[in-house]
């Protein structure tokens, strides 16, 4: 009784959205402030635009092959060996990404709220949770994202809006500055956050309307982009760009400053952090799931159950590697850049082969 094609466009968008909103939410305003000063919102906006531009060719390509995942049709387009190498590279990227994200999460969790919990336990519990839930099929995967999305968006929106009450508009001026190299670098950094929209490649083969893959992705990127923008505006507006550069987790600070009433709900940041665990979980779940599916594809397993178990030690090792918080961030930025390049090359290759072979394709279909 399991019909195929169960994923609606809205649910696909929810998956991408909840994947994008993740661990980065806490430190995001700092990068933006460092890159653009008071024009940080503009930097973030450019980042969103860049990621939409990057997402478009990927989703558009997947849309052309509504019945297969990227890794299946890439074998036909660019040949087995090359597609195998790229699958391996992307697998590596997502294992690293999962591990580093888990580590970032562990760092925040242990320094801010769960001070008495050892970081290994925090990280391992989270990865174990991802492993357990990665054993389910992709439809259930979308259920989870769809269910948690309101729990992710609502608190962020609420706290941002509350903290905006105390905002000083002067801090946000000048809004427009001359884009410099730092500006664009920051924009590219911002677009790294949206890289996990890659998850669309798993969803397309099961979408009810695969033609709407692009629309789903752009909707998701736009919504999460607005949320990220709001966070930046709130943080910069509250603290000013110079102050924001000094804060490790500016979003958390703005949550801390957002108190409702006297003595009632004093610590909004605690509620925020507790719910933030969910948004980290959905992000990690997506990357973990993607890594398991890739491993399954590489080894040609029947499903991703076995490979999800194999991923667990790998990601945990990656998460334990960085010596401190700053190493973690340096590494994840480097990873972001590397993955952006690899994906771009991969996509260019696929698109060019697709365009070359298209007449033949049409005849075959």
């Amino acid at each position: 009784m399991t019909p195929t094609r169960q994923i609606t466009t809205l649910r696909a968008a929810a998956v991408i959205g909840s994947t994008i909103i993740g661990v980065g939410i806490l430190s995001f305003p700092r990068y933006m402030a460092a890159a653009g000063g008071s024009s940080a919102p503009l930097v973030a906006f450019s980042g969103v635009v860049i990621s939409i531009v990057c997402f478009w060719p990927l989703a558009a390509l997947c849309r052309r092959f509504p019945r297969e995942s990227l890794f299946v049709f890439s074998r036909r387009l660019i040949g087995k060996p090359l597609s195998f190498i790229f699958a391996l590279l992307i697998l590596l990227i997502f294992v690293l990404l999962t591990g580093l994200t888990a580590r970032q999460f562990g760092d925040v969790a242990t320094t801010v709220l769960f001070k008495k919990t050892p970081i290994e336990a925090t990280v391992f519990l989270m990865l174990l949770l991802c492993q357990l839930s990665s054993r389910r099929n992709i439809v259930k995967f979308t259920y989870i994202h769809f269910f948690y999305l309101p729990l992710i968006i609502a608190p962020v929106l609420l706290i941002t809006l509350i903290s905006m009450r105390n905002m000083d508009l002067l801090n946000l001026q000048p809004i427009l500055v001359m884009p410099s190299a730092a500006f664009w670098k920051g924009a590219v950094k911002a677009s790294f956050l949206f890289q996990s929209s890659f998850i669309i490649v798993l969803l397309v083969p099961l979408m009810q309307k695969p033609k709407q893959a692009v629309r789903a992705g752009i909707l998701a990127i736009a919504v999460s982009g607005i949320i990220y923008l709001l966070i930046v505006v709130a943080a910069i507006g509250l603290f000013g760009s110079e102050e924001t550069k000094l804060l490790i987790y500016p979003t958390l600070e703005s949550a801390r400053s957002a108190a409702v009433g006297e003595g009632f709900l004093e610590r909004l940041d605690a509620i925020f952090i507790v719910l933030w665990v969910i948004s980290v979980y959905t992000t990690l779940y997506s990357t973990y799931y993607l890594a398991s599916c890739l491993l399954q594809h590489v080894f040609a397993f029947r499903d991703q159950r076995m490979s999800s178990t194999l991923i667990l030690p790998l990601t945990f090792i990656v998460a334990s590697l960085p010596a401190n918080v700053f190493k973690t961030y340096t590494w994840s930025l480097a990873l972001g850049l590397a993955s952006m390049i690899i994906l771009a090359v991969y996509l260019c290759l696929l698109w060019s082969m697709y365009l070359l072979r298209r007449p033949g394709k049409r005849g075959a279909a």
Partner: protein, 562 residues
């Protein structure tokens, strides 16, 4: 319940579930011939019976008894054994009709006059009428009439002999209501089916009865509404019953354990109820109900998470109250699961989350307690569970006394002895009360059970542990299915229009359609025009209307079409 069979098909009524499943599939296959439409009664008795069989044949309690009327004419009586008094049939119908012509003088030779003779001189039944239309017979039969058909006569006699034997029907113990019917199932299957039929007088109600269990041969009835229930669902239910091969079925609970999707889950995936009205409501939504002879519980499938915090009161009371009480119940449900875990994690890991005054008060109360908060809460929770179990097993008189002793005396003494702090007692009490507010006992137990791992996680990892535990529980709920329907429907996968009956209960006239996740063959509950009447009344006239009977609003060509 078959005395004798006039048609070969009838022998199949007591076939095994396996064969039933196959024949049902065959019947539901697209393109299979539908039951022929019936008009007037034909002269041939066999034809008439065949037509009736086509309409009512799927019911296990249908009885067709053929006999020789006055030793001369072929005749048959048709009735539903669950609705009539068989003693009365024997004494007052069969007895005067069976004797040969020598014992009944004055019997007319002409078959056309027979009906009037029988009504005037033979049967001793107070109410009855003649009927010439064949398609009027099935509705009368399901209401408890007995139809007498005679070969060669195009008229039948309908005798009202309904006797629903409701002796011993009592208020359900497990599902009490403030407002709503007070009757519950009893042990006898016939009575329970009669209670169902009494509330659902429709020819669409199908009751399939067959024995189950190698030794007990308990009769199991599967009920559904033919024009509403999804054939796939009915077929799936039949399939699951058909593969049960066990020694004995003592109670509906035995079947539940064989047919549920995920036996390892703490959450019940089959709903049980003692209430016929609840069963009827479920049937009308397109669900399938199972009754077992000897069990006062009906099983309803598919059962979803939100059903376990809904009660009859929600629907019998006005919608605002219904919604409010439902939300309160949901809060109780959540508190029975999370309260102690949150308490433990906040008090032992993040005391800064509490307002300062409160934190000081709590730590003052905990000053004399030698254990860590986890242990303290666990001790109190376990003793509370023991107390609960003891109170259920004891006779009611002693049970009341015990709960007073347990809660008041021991609770107070434990605080004074330094075993627990007062705030812990408060928390544990709130949790327990919360778990009692969940209407479904088995769902409440599931949450109670999950409370303990959550407390342990809270003791080990603080709020983070609670969060992880919560995610695990929710993920499990999202993965669960009941008869192919996702357990968290209609939240996930989201169908907005089914949300009308989940957290809140919107007015009945808003719920125009049946839940879509049940894939009913007929999804309309209310006609299109009806809700408009109420909405116009409320929205445009502020709830006041000059016309107390706004029936003319029903007229076609309404400007607002929703």
């Amino acid at each position: 319940m078959i005395f004798h069979t006039a048609l070969p098909k009838e022998a199949e009524t007591l076939q095994s579930w396996n064969e039933k499943y196959e024949s049902y599939l065959k019947k539901k296959q697209p393109g299979s011939p539908q039951a022929p439409g019936a008009g007037s009664l034909s002269r041939s008795l066999a034809d008439n019976l065949q037509q009736l069989q086509a309409v009512l044949g799927a019911n296990g309690d249908l009885v067709i008894r053929d006999f020789l009327l006055f030793g001369r004419h072929e005749a048959a009586i048709v009735f539903l054994s669950s609705l009539v008094n068989e003693e009365q049939i024997r004494e007052h119908i069969l007895k005067p009709l069976l004797p040969g012509p020598e014992n009944s003088p004055g019997v007319p030779e002409d078959p056309d006059h027979l009906i009037h003779y029988i009504w005037a001189k033979a049967v001793q039944v107070t109410q009855g009428n003649t009927e010439q239309k064949l398609d009027h017979l099935p509705p009368a039969i399901v209401k408890g009439s007995l139809a007498l058909l005679i070969n060669g006569v195009t008229e039948s006699l309908l005798l009202d002999i309904r006797q629903v034997d409701l002796r011993g029907v009592d208020q359900p113990q497990t599902e009490q209501v403030i407002r709503g019917p007070r009757e519950g199932y009893v042990e006898k299957l016939e009575n329970n089916l009669a209670l169902l039929r009494y509330r659902l007088q429709s020819t669409d109600l199908r009751i399939e009865i067959s024995p189950l269990g190698r030794r007990t041969q308990s009769r199991v009835a599967l009920c559904y509404l033919d024009s509403i229930a999804d054939p796939q669902l009915v077929a799936e239910a039949m399939r699951r019953i058909s593969i049960i091969d066990t020694d004995g079925i003592i109670d509906a609970g035995y079947i539940e354990q064989f047919i549920e999707d995920q036996p390892l889950s703490p959450f019940p995936q089959v709903q049980n109820t003692e209430r016929p009205d609840k069963t009827v409501a479920a049937l009308m939504e397109g669900r399938v109900a199972l009754l077992v002879d000897g069990s006062p519980f009906a099983l309803i499938v598919p059962a979803l998470f939100n059903q376990f915090f809904q009660t009859v009161d929600d629907y019998t009371e006005r919608f605002i109250m219904g919604s409010l009480i439902r939300i309160i119940r949901l809060i109780a449900l959540a508190s029975s699961l999370f309260f102690p875990a949150l308490y433990v994690s906040v008090i032992s890991f993040n005391p800064e989350l509490m307002p300062t005054d409160f934190a000081v008060a709590i730590s003052g109360g905990r000053a004399g307690v030698p254990f860590p908060a986890v242990l303290e809460v666990l001790i109190m929770e376990v003793s509370m569970e023991v107390l609960r179990e003891a109170t259920i097993r004891l006779p009611q008189m002693i049970g009341g006394a015990l709960s007073i002793v347990g809660v008041l005396v021991i609770g107070q003494a434990a605080v004074e002895a330094g075993l627990a702090s007062p705030i812990t007692v408060v928390i544990v009490a709130l949790t327990t009360i919360g778990s009692f507010a969940t209407p479904a006992y088995n769902a409440a137990i599931a949450l109670r059970m999950l409370r303990f791992p959550l407390i342990l996680l809270a003791g080990m990892f603080g709020l983070y542990g609670v969060m992880i535990g919560t995610i695990v529980i929710f993920n499990h709920l999202l993965f669960l299915e009941s008869f192919g329907v996702p357990y968290m429907s209609p939240f996930i996968p989201g169908k907005w229009r089914d949300w009308k009956d989940t957290l809140v209960r919107v007015p009945l006239w808003w719920m125009r359609r049946r839940p879509s996740f049940l894939h009913t063959t007929d999804s309309t509950r209310l006609p299109e025009a009806v809700p408009g009447v109420y909405e116009d009344q409320i929205l445009q006239q502020g709830g006041e209307t000059d016309d107390p009977y706004p029936s003319d609003h029903n007229a076609a060509g309404r400007s607002r079409n929703r």
